[in-house]
């Protein structure tokens, strides 16, 4: 198997948007001929303003949306030739809001266990053990097995979402704004956890974020999207020291450095 985990070629997605009653539809190009390569163990960050197609691209890579044009290969296989169950074993998402991504009627244990059930795992007697191992991996105490999401804090819920994504040991994890709904103190815990898990489980991350400080800390490669197009892609250090595209420069200018002496942009 090659080391190229994700290979996107000219991916395009159009949405047809209603302009009002009797007015017909308008075509909105959400993702416009985007090509990406992500190697094993890399973290590719996708940055850009809201509405620039980051999340649509993520959904296409997860197989939740079909591209109108272009191809996506995961681990060398075209995504439309992989069955849904196999795809779910290969790539998993972690969403932004842990308050809406967990079913409030299910216990933590059954939420984390669901992927095993869906995959028709052969050894049901081992499930509880596997869930507990995964909970331990993401730093959740085992007493939470029978608790419900509303009894957990935001950071703990995001850990549950991470545990659910990892229980079938996927190779690629797509994190869509994993920390933007969390407090800074919790954000640092989740970022530390994601970094540990990456080396421990040999994961490849695609990180969607608009927090450039987080991107700088986590990513090895950054792709900048603007109005559906990928306008720039380079190594993180290079992007932050020598931005090429005007939009990237605007983005970097809007970083608020937490140091009143070097920052004080608005004083």
């Amino acid at each position: 198997m090659s080391d190229l985990m994700v290979e996107a070629r000219g991916v395009t997605k159009d949405f047809r948007i209603s302009r009002g009653l009797f007015r017909g539809k308008e075509v909105l190009r959400a993702v416009d001929r985007v090509s990406l390569n992500v190697n094993r163990g890399e973290t590719l960050a996708v940055v850009g303003e809201s509405g620039c197609g980051k999340t649509t691209l993520a959904k296409i890579m997860l197989g939740l949306l079909e591209p109108d044009d272009g191809t996506i290969k995961l681990c060398g296989m075209p995504i439309n030739e992989i069955s849904r169950l196999d795809l779910a074993k290969l790539v998993q998402p972690i969403f932004q809001d842990p308050y809406s991504s967990l079913n409030p009627r299910k216990t933590i244990g059954s939420i984390i266990q669901l992927p095993l059930l869906v995959q028709g795992d052969k050894n049901p007697e081992n499930w509880r053990k596997r869930v507990l191992t995964t909970m331990d991996l993401v730093g959740l105490p085992s007493r939470m097995f029978d608790q419900f999401p509303n009894q957990l804090s935001g950071g703990q819920r995001q850990r549950v979402a991470i545990a659910r994504a990892l229980i079938n040991r996927p190779k690629i994890v797509i994190c869509d704004e994993p920390t933007s709904a969390l407090d800074v103190s919790v954000q640092s815990q989740i970022l530390n956890l994601l970094n540990e898990l990456r080396s421990e489980l040999d994961l490849t991350y695609i990180l969607i974020s608009h927090n450039l400080a987080v991107v700088e800390h986590m990513a090895t490669k950054v792709a900048v999207m603007y109005f559906g197009e990928k306008v720039e892609e380079s190594e993180t250090d290079q992007l932050f020291s020598r931005p090429q595209h005007d939009y990237t420069k605007t983005l970097l200018d809007s970083i608020l450095v937490p140091d009143p002496r070097s920052a004080s942009k608005f004083h």
Binding site: E49, H217, F266
Partner: protein, 365 residues
């Protein structure tokens, strides 16, 4: 400024000497009865804002930041109990104002900008309608004069051409534009004080930078006091003059923005600052600092230390010679940090203080 001349004078305020202190709040506590008992959401805090000054309130969610701002506006939920010794706006005691008097103050002398502009604008009225209403309610300005003012103000916050936007509804505007409309609406009556509760959290980084720049510029033009509530320390470093760090309903550290960032003296502030990735400071992939545990529940009579369980393994103790006792109340002790008269830290209990600072007996004697 051409804009100011258009407005009739605010007689009640501009007569007499103008105080430099816009807002002065002393010993504010908020208690809310909940199922399990009394929730002590805010515990005995004091704060003040000078004219033209930005006070940033930072802290994790659930620390009482937003309730504090609502208490100042007298907009707390009905069952909440507010106890406060002093609350004055421009040296005028607003503590015993009736609801009617208060509603003349809100939106007029005190403006508020909320986090989510979509939920604070009325979706069924146009921008023009909502802005004109503010003027007719508080200033008695109607007709073409009011419309001119509205257009001027929208242009001032960078909505150009403003006339085109007047007849639009909030859902037709982008998030950044909506927040600009909110700011314009807040500034229409030239308030003395603006309370902004996470005004840029829902916006993109590029838009956030624009809005912050705009707010800072307008604050200088209008010379208003600004209370800015946020959890983003990057924002704080860029716009604050003074900072108050809140934790579990108390202000644990306050001082100038340089005091807080150059010499954070409370372990909680130090913890918060170590959590954020700073480009160039921490190597990529290196673990960030963190504050273990979570904010304690403040329901019922709180016993013991608010920080128990939140001391990291690697927390460092500081030198007790750097601080000196400033005042003591029955519950907490306030210390002054040496080198700055306005840099204060507070500890909820003795235990907390001892864990943070080493007191060398020989040095003291």
């Amino acid at each position: 400024m051409a804009f100011v001349t258009l407005l009739p004078q605010k007689t009640e305020i501009e007569e007499g000497a103008v105080s430099e202190r816009v807002l002065d709040v002393e010993n504010l506590s908020i208690e809310i009865p909940v199922v399990g008992g009394m929730l002590h959401a805010v515990d005995n805090i004091s704060l003040h804002v000078e004219r033209g000054e930005t006070l940033c309130i930072v802290g994790e969610s659930g620390c009482g930041k937003s309730l504090t701002s609502l208490a100042i506006m007298d907009l707390l939920p009905k069952k909440a109990i507010r106890t406060v010794n002093k609350m004055s706006l421009n040296d005028e005691n607003i503590l015993n104002f009736s609801e009617k008097q208060m509603s003349n103050v809100r939106g007029n002398k005190m403006g508020m900008i909320f986090q989510e502009p979509m939920s604070s604008l009325n979706p069924s009225f146009t921008v023009e309608n909502q802005m004109l209403e503010t003027l007719s309610r508080h200033r008695n300005i109607v007709g073409s004069q009011a419309k001119d003012l509205v257009i001027q103000m929208l242009e001032k916050v960078g909505i150009i051409p403003a006339e085109k936007r007047l007849r639009q509804y909030p859902h037709q505007l982008s998030g950044g534009l909506r927040q600009r409309v909110m700011i314009a609406m807040t500034l229409l009556c030239e308030p003395e004080l603006i309370i902004a509760d996470e005004p840029t959290t829902a916006l993109d980084v590029t838009i956030q930078a624009q809005i912050l720049k705009l707010m800072k510029g307008l604050q200088n033009d209008f010379n208003v006091g600004l209370i800015f509530i946020t959890h983003d320390l990057g924002v704080v470093a860029n716009i604050a003059d003074r900072v108050a760090v809140m934790y579990a309903g108390q202000i644990v550290e306050e001082g100038s923005v340089f005091d807080i960032f150059d010499n954070p003296s409370h372990p909680y502030t130090r913890g918060l600052l170590s959590c954020i990735p700073v480009p160039g400071k921490i190597k990529r992939g290196e673990p960030l600092g963190s504050i273990p545990g979570m904010v304690p529940s403040l329901v019922g009579d709180f016993q013991g230390c608010r920080f128990s369980g939140r001391w990291g393994d690697a927390h460092e103790q500081l030198d007790g010679a750097d601080i000196k006792l400033a005042s003591t109340s029955d519950k907490s002790k306030t210390y002054k940090v040496k080198g700055s008269e306005t840099h204060l830290i507070r500890f909820c209990c003795e235990d907390c203080l001892k864990k943070s600072y080493i007191f060398d007996k020989r040095k003291a004697s």
